[in-house]
Symmetry: D2
Subunit: 180 residues, 4 copies
């Protein structure tokens, strides 16, 4: 944010520099979506996990996730990030209730919560989102894989999550009643 | 149930007479589904209400509802009653989580809860179920109408519910964040 | 239930024999409570697990659990079973919302769900119940122990559950946001 | 935030001026608590509403509410605001689950949601918090009154809310199963 109080041609817009500063001062509002395939009875058969490169160049598992912008609704942010990561034909079914199944609080480490994010303090509202359409990640670096609940909970896959996100998958599966 | 303890050719089956008796002795397990139309952001735009004749021959509003049978899962009971009342092409999206948005306890009047049912003590697990397909009630006596949240909360429509079900509609709309 | 349709002096009462029969024909309505100790911030620090003898004489872990009686409300059933198992000074805080955190469906094995009960088909509404008072199990055979979330999830303790109840503990801990 | 990038002696601290600017650019993270009195069965008997002066000098009803600070957990923010508004002896019972019963999105008017706040875009996680102790608002200007659910829903009281908060009370009461 600028000290010069002239009218701002882009209200709601933050320069990369100002966003960097805000991240040192305010909790950032995020949404996280766990895309799932369900059968006709509503049982979750697969979760959609993204494979992406971390800042350190490591391949890590993650989910659809992103910031809520100024004057953007939670639902609009969810849809925007789902379309960005799953493509325009995924047909995500945003849940009718605005209540998330859990809230994940990411803090710079050491964190009082199971979740860490060294860039910022982020509060993520987490939703389970059935998708029925075809998914084609639009971002080149990104790969989407559909894994069964068992696979998501396997040691191998759990080791590929960073920032505590493996725990969020366990919470999501518990929420949908999944038991091994 | 018979006093004669011979092997039962129809385990899980209750004669009308025995069902009548069980209703005087045990709480009956029900599911209730509020079918909704949602937009791409997940906002509820319409609720599907059934119009049916009460035992007294009066036309009353109700929702998809019915008993859970012996060895039937909640999800299977939901799907069965949704198909019975909305037809085979409704494409109901049973929610991924087994937790109902509320539990409605129907008691013979006078009832300690807002819900009454003079035939029995019924405990209904209530779910909001988006439907995307075409609905055609299969039972002749039944009519399905799609009403906006405002219409559902109007005095006229609220007066057409019996047994306290108008309250359940208010709870469902509150759960999806609806505010007039 | 008797075939002789004389007026019943004990409406709502089921003989052991009739209850046995009903269990072959109808889903039975249960409540399950996971008593927890919480700190001032609401974090769960301990779960109260019961140690009891199974029908086979084995010691097994279980939670506060029991049937909902005819014309008994869910809340009254919860309080009754909590008092029976934790004593009259436990001061359980029944949650303000009637919605359970999950629904556990117990079926005679083989079961389509993670939960089994060979006596019956039981549908259990599961609640997390903070208790602040002193607990003294009233039933002689019963022992109550308070375990940390880590202990509850340990292999040793998980092996002491039967009927899939270890899964319900994992669901409860996930619901309260617990992550290792 | 300052343009001069010298080390900041108070990380996490925002000057009133910088907070004012951030409010034009980022959604602000809030918590809202509806303090309730419950009976031994968990039924809500009363809600605690605050009476406070709006910026225009009008007396308005509101609830315990406030910002989540940088590196502050949701639970810590809830407790801090509850203590600020209800005093140190209220003994609030922060719920074990981090999931709010609803999320209220306040936008500068005209708002796409039922909630408005002309100062900012605020996202409030809303919780129902039983309190068992004695409440004594510490801020001079503030008065706390305990109202029954019926009173909260009365036209008179509903007219005293601003920014759509009357709707949040209706949602809270629906969540706890209240039906008139």
């Amino acid at each position: 944010m600028s000290n010069v109080r002239t009218p701002d041609p882009y209200p709601g817009w933050l320069s990369p520099e100002d966003l960097h500063e805000a991240r040192q001062r305010l909790p950032m509002m995020y949404v996280e979506a766990l895309p799932v395939r369900v059968d006709t009875l509503g049982y979750v058969t697969e979760l959609g996990l993204l494979l992406t490169a971390s800042d350190e160049g490591e391949m890590v598992r993650t989910f659809v996730s992103g910031r809520v912008l100024y004057r953007e609704s939670i639902r609009a942010a969810l849809l925007r990030h789902l379309e960005k990561d799953l493509g325009p034909f995924a047909l995500p079914q945003i849940p009718p209730s605005p209540a998330p199944f859990t809230v994940a609080e990411y803090f710079p480490s050491p964190s009082p919560s199971p979740y860490t994010d060294d860039r910022q303090h982020a509060v993520a509202l987490a939703y389970i989102v059935p998708v029925t359409g075809e998914c084609s990640p639009r971002q080149d670096a990104l790969q989407l894989s559909w894994l069964t609940p068992e696979e998501c909970l396997s040691e191998g896959v759990q080791a590929e999550f960073v920032g505590g996100r493996g725990n969020l998958v366990r919470q999501a599966l518990a929420h949908v009643g999944w038991g091994r």
